[in-house]
């Protein structure tokens, strides 16, 4: 299974990457996705998570073909 992980804004800068593609054998939790993508244990506070461009809470299951985005609070407008 392939999962596309993306980072934006200050998170992209601090991780030094705009994302990564994960290849896994079974569905992941949001936190597992974060850890596998970044090598960091535990999701930072205040981070927003979207799966396939829709906001999700962290209980959602990430599965094949999903695009998972992690980003800081939005500041548009």
């Amino acid at each position: 299974m392939s999962i596309k992980v993306r980072y934006f804004a200050s998170l992209k800068e601090s991780l030094g990457s705009d994302g990564v593609e994960l290849f896994v054998t079974e569905p992941l939790t949001v936190e597992q996705t974060w850890s596998q993508a970044t090598g960091q244990v535990g999701l930072p506070d205040n981070i927003l998570v979207a799966v396939n461009m829709v906001y999700v809470d962290q209980t959602v299951e990430i599965t094949d073909g999903d695009e998972v985005a992690f980003f800081p609070p939005v500041t548009g407008g």
Binding site: R6, S10, P73, V74, T75, G76, G77
Partner: protein, 163 residues
């Protein structure tokens, strides 16, 4: 870049645009009104909000700004926000224009225009869209300060002058 949606949600004319270059908010609203003339004389109220880049923030002079977004998700969130407003108030036409990329002080960042028959619906829907955009639409501002430093804006404020 110029993205255009006219989904005629419930017969409502909706235009959502992301623009990478400076724009004139009044020209945008006029152009929008010209293409939605079908409802022209039913429109009794238009509420317009324009957000403009200031030359200071959090006490520091700001010389320019970069506005990052999430192509695809940003448009989708804006569409969903407008659809929610349409479900909640008696709205005739809605325009949302948002700038992305490099921005200078004085440049418009966002324009929301809501046309309705009655003023309460226009005021409420316009404000709802702005507040939802501020809290949900994936845009991020990075400020270039006069001091040469740059910083990401941490959070959108509640929208009032600090005490």
């Amino acid at each position: 870049m110029r993205l255009l949606f006219s989904p005629r949600l419930l017969e409502v004319e909706v235009v959502i645009k992301l623009l990478a270059e400076a724009f004139d908010p009044f020209e945008e609203v006029k152009r929008f009104q010209e293409q939605s003339v079908g409802s022209a004389c039913a429109v009794g109220a238009t509420s317009i909000f324009i957000g403009t880049m200031r030359d200071f923030n959090d006490g520091d002079p700001v010389v320019s700004m970069f506005l990052e977004y999430y192509p695809g998700m940003t448009e989708r969130q804006l569409k969903d926000i407008v659809a929610e407003a349409i479900g909640q108030w008696a709205v005739l036409n809605v325009l949302v224009v948002h700038r992305v990329g490099d921005i200078s002080p004085g440049d418009p960042i966002v324009v929301v225009a809501v046309e309705t028959s009655h003023r309460g619906d226009a005021f409420d829907a316009c404000r709802f869209i702005m507040e939802a955009l501020k809290s949900k639409a994936p845009f991020w501002k990075k400020e270039q300060l006069k001091s040469q430093k740059s910083r990401w804006v941490g959070n959108n404020s509640k929208g009032y002058a600090p005490e």
